[in-house]
Amino acid sequence: MAKYTLSVLVENHAGVLSRVAGLFSRRGFNIDSLAVGVTENPDISRMTIVVDGDEYTVEQVSKQLNKLIDVIKIKRLDKHESISRELALIKVAATAATRSEIVQLVEIFRAKIVDVSKNTLTIEASGDGEKVAALEELLRQFGIKEIVRTGTIAIERGNRIIKVDE
């Protein structure tokens, strides 16, 4: 199974997310992640959907999404021609003995410490999914208490833009 990233422009109104999510479940498609937010045009939202599947599946996903009236445009992003990022907040157990080691790891990953308490450190990490996963893996030994991830967002490199045709 490969992962495909789709950028989807949708009407920014209530119910659109449930239509999209519902379509995935009833057609038996697997979503790896789905992230949504408003675009430079407040009437339009952009979803980044990472789909798990083969060529046939992703083709079907695109076509079925296109049938939704609220979906305006879909583009499949090429992994090499786009930048993808995910944000994670990781709360990890920290003691006086382990704190400096954790801080070093965070620096190597160019992540940030955003909250400190006597027993925990909360780390903000961003990057592609693999980078975040690698950091998570290394932090595991200290005891991860909580992790929150946004799901992937992605944008094309260079001059290419995805916008609504006028």
Partner: protein, 550 residues
């Protein structure tokens, strides 16, 4: 001009050319029903909301216009659901309007509240929950546009009761622009040329016509193509009527319940042109095995259908009629008739080897007190004009009708193809009769499915709707009984309807004429009486409980 939301709904429906609505009132839709009193739009009160949705469906199928049904919130709306799903599966344009509880009550589990937009999202083409009365004219216009264009389908508009009561300055948008909805009508010229070249090359081409041929009014163009190149035509259940049954190139219905001849012809093809069909599992089972043997050309208005169920060599996205018009520019007449003759011979051979369409095929069941339903259906067309409409229920009656009734025109055979909804036929026939009062409408029914919408006899009585009913009574849910015989070793479970009522007496209770027959020798005279009767007529035909589907 200031109007209420309810008045705006009526006004906009009038602008959309709506002349009849099928519905059922209730509290949350009461402002609409009040405004309806001052409108020229006719309203047909069905006996269950599901009947209203099916009637709108029958109306849409014979007129080509969107059918409109209306229900109140909660149970009214949920009763529409089967009809909405049914229209979705068969790509039939209906607009369903539902009342909803007051906007400020939504989400509180108020009395008669149900999330109908959430519930119908999986099987409606689109739906709306109207938040402001000012949006009504645009939303209703969009709903009709979406329902009737591209691949047609049902659209639901849910309107809270306070929105119906709100007054505002009415403004009807002459133009609408839906950013995310731009159907493709013209096929890609390069693909069309490829299709034409493949047709020239093919030795054994077959056209498989689906409901899209009928929806697009493309029967004439399809026949022109078939005749020009001598291409045998098979149909799906939804495609019945695309080609007259007595046409030399007509080869019957494909699929698990189709004719062996049609399936054989399809499987011997070296090219299959799938026209406005979605290659459903019941129509073309081993689709990809077929695609290995034959070049598949798939022409459909819905890009999502192409490549979904079958690997396609030459896809063409577009309106079937327009694509065929363009294709005919490149297709010269003069395909060899050898293959068409071969197909015709297969057809004749099958008819001789036990077809049911001839007098000789009668199997002497008179003695047992049963008629042969296939025989009855094969002669029914003798008593009806060619534009007569036949509706069917779902079950054995549907397949008997599909395989044996001689359909002569498009839009005269209406049936629940995709969802397979029992209880569809009678209300659909009512809707068809309202849409085409100039032609006779007959519903083919079984004792099981008839009782799922039997209450709609009351609708027929109230409005004097002349629908003839042919009821095959085998005191069984025959299709399921047969399945239990073949798949479960004859362990029959819940398929006996031995305590059926006296159906002729039931019809009489509504003031309708009728009779019961139990031998083939009675068939022709009974059909004569049915066809010439004034008003509704119920012909109950006793059928062997063990009568097979095929």
């Amino acid at each position: 001009m200031k109007v209420t939301g309810a008045e705006a709904i009526i006004k906009t429906l009038e602008k959309e050319g709506v002349d009849v609505i099928f519905g059922y009132p209730g509290a949350a839709i009461s402002p609409f029903y009040d405004a309806l009193l001052d409108s020229g739009i006719r309203h047909i009160l069905t006996r269950n909301e599901q009947g209203a949705a099916h009637a709108a469906n029958g109306y849409a199928r014979v007129t080509g216009k969107a059918g409109v049904c209306v229900a109140t919130s909660g149970p009214g709306a949920t009763n529409l659901i089967t009809g909405i799903a049914n229209a979705y599966m068969d790509s039939i344009p209906i607009v369903a309007i539902t009342g909803q509880v007051r906007s400020d009550m939504i989400g509180t589990d108020a009395f008669q509240e149900a999330d109908i937009t959430g519930a119908t999202a999986p099987f409606s083409k689109h739906n709306y929950l109207v938040k402001k009365a000012e949006e009504l004219p645009r939303i209703i216009k969009e709903a009709f546009y979406i329902a009737t264009t591209g691949r047609p389908g049902p659209v639901v508009i849910d309107i809270p009761v306070d929105v119906q009561n709100h007054s505002f300055e009415y403004d009807y948008p002459e133009i609408i622009d839906i950013k995310g909805y731009k159907p493709t009508y013209r096929g890609h010229p390069g693909q069309i040329k490829k299709a034409a070249a493949a047709l020239e090359q093919a030795k054994r081409p077959v056209i498989c016509a689906g409901g899209g041929v009928i929806a697009a009014d493309a029967a004439v163009e399809m026949l022109e193509l078939a005749e020009r190149r001598n291409i045998p035509v098979v149909t799906t259940l939804m495609g019945i009527g695309a080609i007259p049954s007595d046409h030399r190139l007509h080869c019957g219905m494909v699929g698990t319940h189709g004719s062996r001849t049609a399936n054989n012809i399809l499987n011997n093809a070296d090219l299959v042109m799938v026209l406005g069909a979605r290659v459903g599992d019941r129509a073309i089972g081993a689709a990809n095995a077929l695609a290995k043997k034959a070049v598949i050309i798939h022409i459909d208005i819905d890009p999502a259908e192409i490549g979904k169920n079958i690997d396609v060599a030459i896809p063409v996205v577009g309106d079937v009629k327009m694509v065929l018009e363009d294709l005919l520019e490149y297709v010269a007449s003069g395909g060899s008739s050898e293959w068409a003759d071969e197909a015709a011979a297969m057809k004749l051979k099958a008819a001789a080897a036990g077809g049911t369409g001839s007098e000789e095929a009668r199997d002497g069941k008179e003695d047992k007190g049963f008629i042969n339903p296939k025989y009855l259906l094969s002669v029914l067309a003798d008593y009806l004009p060619e534009n007569a409409v036949i509706a069917t229920e779902v079950g054995q009656n549907q397949i008997w009708a599909a395989n044996n009734y001689r359909v002569r025109c498009p839009k005269t055979f209406i049936t629940s193809g995709g969802l397979g909804t029992m209880g569809y036929g009678l209300p659909a026939a009512i809707g068809a009769r309202i849409g085409r009062p100039d032609v006779p409408v007959t519903v083919i029914s079984g004792d099981g499915s008839f009782q799922m919408s039997v209450q709609e006899l009351g609708t027929m009585k109230q409005y004097g709707i002349d629908v003839k009913i042919i009821l095959f009574n085998n005191c069984r849910l025959g299709m399921v009984r047969e399945l239990q015989l073949t798949r479960h070793g004859g362990r029959y479970s819940q398929v006996c309807l031995d305590s059926n009522p006296d159906f002729v007496a039931l019809a009489a209770a509504y003031g309708f004429s009728g009779e019961r027959i139990s031998s083939d020798s009675q068939i022709r005279a009974a059909l004569e009486r049915l066809a010439s009767s004034e008003g509704p007529y119920l012909l109950e035909c006793m059928v062997d409980p063990m009568e097979p589907t095929l």
